[in-house]
Symmetry: C2
Subunit: 233 residues, 2 copies
């Protein structure tokens, strides 16, 4: 799970700065995700990275800077993974579906990064929460925009932005929570988990218990009550 770099003994091999920085970041994400910001020590990070502490300070600055850099890197990666999977010309439900698949795909590929983002960062008070809340805010805005856009497709009086934002917050939270649940129940493929959430938020329990499910685009025109939307990752 966290075997980043073998523990070093003696002097480390000379490597160009960019490479070392990547190693250090990987190690930092690993350690922060396991221990949280305060419990993680720079000594342990440097050890996992296979270098000595002064290198760490020379390249990445203080502990806080390092942590903030980790959050930025991981959140950027994640937002890119999600937005690159979504085509804005598609209908809203398909966009949502693509986003969810991209999200769960990212989490599955990148568990340590996800933990840093979701758990550790939000609990620290400093500049991190800010950094993290920022990304979370971007995700929520993305979803909120999608929702507002959705109602333009219909003749409904447009819901207030506040309302859309709160619903988006709920959806993002559902995704986070389900992702956590998934980490403890990893046997299922990403696609199935994503499909569950899609069904929940698009159809609602009311429809689900009545047997109505949402269908992925490929079988869009068929009607029925069979399972649906369960292809793999």
């Amino acid at each position: 799970m966290h075997a980043e770099q073998p523990v070093r003994s003696g002097r480390a091999k000379r490597l160009p700065r960019a490479v070392r920085e990547r190693q250090i970041m990987d190690a930092a994400v690993d350690v922060f995700s396991r221990l949280g910001f305060h419990a993680a020590s720079m000594d342990e990070i440097s050890e996992v990275a296979g270098i000595s502490k002064p290198m760490l300070y020379a390249y990445l600055g203080s502990k806080e800077e390092l942590f903030a850099t980790c959050i930025r890197r991981e959140s950027t990666r994640m937002m890119e993974a999600i937005s690159s999977g979504v085509e804005s010309e598609e209908p809203p439900d398909v966009q949502l579906w693509s986003g969810l698949r991209a999200f769960f795909g990212f989490v599955g590929e990148n568990r340590a990064g996800w933990q840093v983002l979701h758990r550790q960062a939000s609990s620290q008070g400093g500049p991190f929460a800010e950094e993290l809340a920022d990304m979370r805010g971007r995700a929520i805005s993305l979803v909120a925009a999608l929702l507002v856009h959705s109602s333009d497709f219909t003749n409904v009086p447009r819901a207030g932005d506040k309302e859309a934002e709160s619903l988006a917050a709920a959806l993002v939270g559902a995704g986070e929570s389900l992702a956590d649940w998934w980490l403890d129940n990893p046997e299922e493929p990403a696609g199935v988990v994503a499909a569950r959430l899609m069904n929940l938020v698009w159809m609602g329990f009311g429809d689900l218990v009545a047997g109505d499910v949402w269908h992925p685009p490929s079988r869009r025109s068929e009607r029925g009550t069979e399972r649906g939307a369960e292809e793999g990752a």
Copy 2:
């Protein structure tokens, strides 16, 4: 927001142990919720509680014990608040509605306690995560049972327990996240926020963008597309 006890100067007034313990617990929840486990210091907790550090140790034991006790107290309070609001003879949607109202009511009354529960506890690795995951697990089980029970009301082939559990996890996460959002947007009453989540998870976006909303029990038989379910806390 966190003015528990005025800062003391000199010797504190003699009080019976039970009272002091309550004060200390209140102070601890306050400090832990603001700073998180590691960043919180026993010195600060004792100061906020209006006593000296050795008292703290004499009454509540080590820092870890104190934290665990906080989590236990707050989680018990919350679960009691929720389950006391739900009547198990009601139909599933009404039960869910009652549970959501109770939950948001609790969060509104008890913000510090909520933060300790939701943010701080989950990020620490020790015996706390266990304690907290336990309560979260109870909440998820509660919802999962409700879902499984819901499908008994219909003729749908009963969903797997795993599926119900994952949906419950998503719902609980949505509630947590929406509660956090609410802390940043406190102008709305608890009932409105609860109604939003109810609509989301029961009706789904698909119905919502089409103008269908869920109605609270009092107007159960009416049909229509007006707002609905928005009375106060």
